[in-house]
């Protein structure tokens, strides 16, 4: 994929820097990323912004060994589905732990890291990753 220009990434900064999604005030479900329409309530629902606490548990995980472009230096790296304590799930890298230390159900917390760089002259893209809670 050709590198996109700035707006493509910038639009998602708030969501990715702050783990900001949405919550349907009608049914109480949380969503990440934020949605305009609640899949359950559709247009009857009312979405408001929600900043997730960053605490969650590992729902599933893997170690990626064949990288997509931009991730070559990180191989091998842990990826997980994290179930946030509010109920929504996110996909994220797990850091500060070894694959053998990871278990389904393990408690993790969000931290702010570099996702990748758009080569030496492009943007540095940041976002959330998760690390084990001691």
């Amino acid at each position: 994929m050709e590198e996109k220009a700035v707006a493509f990434h910038w639009r998602a900064f708030r969501e990715r820097y702050g783990l900001v999604g949405s919550r349907c005030e009608l049914c109480g479900r949380h969503f990440f990323p934020g949605r305009v329409i609640c899949p359950a309530c559709r247009r009857k629902g009312k979405m408001s912004e929600h900043r997730f606490s960053g605490k969650g548990r590992v729902y599933s995980f893997t170690v990626v060994r064949t990288p997509p472009t931009g991730f070559e230096i990180f191989i091998p790296y842990l990826m997980a589905i994290v179930e946030l304590e509010e109920g929504a799930r996110v996909v994220s890298q797990l850091v500060d732990c070894k694959p053998e230390e990871v278990q389904i159900g393990m408690s993790v917390e969000a931290c702010f890291r570099k996702i990748r760089e758009q080569n030496n002259s492009g943007l540095v893209l940041y976002g959330f990753k998760f690390r084990p809670v001691k």
Partner: protein, 395 residues
């Protein structure tokens, strides 16, 4: 969804061999498959009224969009209308469904369905990136997840919830390679063992290289007509008894239970209902084994066994040729190859041969009714076709 206003029959099929075709461009692939299908149908190109071609990403693989126009032009079919359908790895079964709707509507009487993908003109990491477009780009791929990584997490969870074993995953690949030995169009003609799978390098734990369908180039083509005119063309029309599609979330991660694909379940329910068939009435099936775990998960979702028992089913040989429900007699995506946009159409080609009795050493004896199961991404699109030698309802 209602039944089609006209029944549809397949009168011809054609495919290229799948593999690394360094000498073939996308145009060369589709032309070869198209000519074979037209010859098999014994029609003239002029008879074709509409071309519906599936290709996941001719854009990212060869920089070409407007693929419908490419299909029509290079198959010599201008000025007939042509469109490209895209649903990731389900692109060409979705194409077939669109073609069926064109015939069912009464607007067209002969439709060519194509599927093609040219994946080897990019580097490995570029292909990985292109395939990641089948996932949720912003929320899965952005953070570094790859397509094998998606299914790896489904596998991990399936092993955690149902005790599916690493060996059971390997047995899927072993079976499919064994089947492909008898398929001249398959990419691989090499038997493998469970040990071979375990020795292959890890791609995304727990999935290894031999759990993953390979990158390949290929194309397939199907010619369909209204059922009532099928016998003008062939003595062995194969009827499409159900053409069904369902959707699920783009991102696998947000589904309630990642050991099942809801689109599988919804599409299967509808397909069996439309065809008037139960799972036990399926004689042979092509199931989307993009990764070994998906054959296990999908066999469960398709009702071939209970949820969670998919591993045991393959371990006990129930999906072998000659057994209760032969799955992936073609070699599956694993051994036949997976040029993503072509796969859906390719599955139909195999099943048509089975139902005609033309499948040689991989023939399932007396096969009358078949099921093709094609998945886009992690199950965000599922398309199921039930084919039969019989036009009427089967108990």
């Amino acid at each position: 969804m209602k039944a089609p206003k006209r029944d549809i029959a397949i009168i011809g099929v054609g495919t290229t061999k799948y593999g690394e075709h360094w000498n073939y461009s996308l145009k060369d692939l589709i032309t070869e498959a198209g000519i074979r299908a037209i010859e098999d149908a014994k029609i003239s190109g002029n008879d074709i009224e509409l071309i519906v071609g599936g290709s996941m990403s001719s854009g990212m693989f060869v920089g070409q969009e407007h693929t419908g126009a490419l299909f029509a032009d290079y198959m010599g079919l201008n000025p007939k209308p042509a469109i490209r359908t895209e649903a990731a790895c389900a692109s060409s079964s979705v194409a077939l469904r669109v073609g069926c709707m064109a015939i069912a509507s009464g607007m067209h009487d002969c439709v060519a369905i194509g599927g093609a993908e040219k994946m080897t003109d990019v580097y490995g990491s570029q292909a990985t990136t292109a395939l990641a477009g089948a996932m949720d780009r912003d929320n899965e791929a952005y953070f570094g997840l790859t397509f094998p990584g998606v299914y790896a997490m489904m596998a991990k969870r399936h092993m955690h919830q149902y005790g599916t074993t690493r060996e059971q995953l390997s047995l899927v690949a072993v079976k499919n390679h064994s089947n492909a030995m008898h398929n001249p169009y398959a990419q691989y003609h090499k038997k493998i063992s469970v040990d071979d799978v375990m020795r292959s390098p890890l791609v995304a734990d727990p999935l290894r290289l031999l759990d993953c369908s390979p990158i390949a180039d290929g194309a397939a083509c199907i010619i369909i007509v209204p059922a009532e005119s099928a016998r003008k063309y062939t003595d062995t029309p194969i009827y499409i008894r159900a053409s069904v599609q369902a959707s699920d979330t783009l991102g696998m991660y947000m589904r309630h239970d990642i050991t099942t694909i809801n689109a599988n379940i919804q599409a299967a329910k509808l397909a069996y209902q439309m065809a008037g068939v139960k799972p036990a009435g399926i004689d042979v099936a092509e199931v989307h084994d993009c990764f070994t775990i998906n054959e296990i998960i999908s066999c469960e979702d398709l009702g071939f066994c209970k949820k969670g028992a998919g591993g045991k089913m393959v371990q006990e040989g129930e999906t072998q040729i000659g057994s209760r429900i032969p799955v992936n007699t073609s070699g599956g995506l694993k051994a036949k190859g997976h040029p993503v946009g072509a796969t859906g159409a390719g599955q139909i080609v195999e099943l048509v041969k089975q139902l005609r009795g033309d499948a040689g050493k991989r023939q399932v004896d007396g096969a009358e009714t078949a099921l093709a199961h094609n998945v886009g991404g992690s199950g965000s699109t599922v398309a199921i076709h039930i084919l039969s030698r019989n036009r009427g309802k089967v108990c």
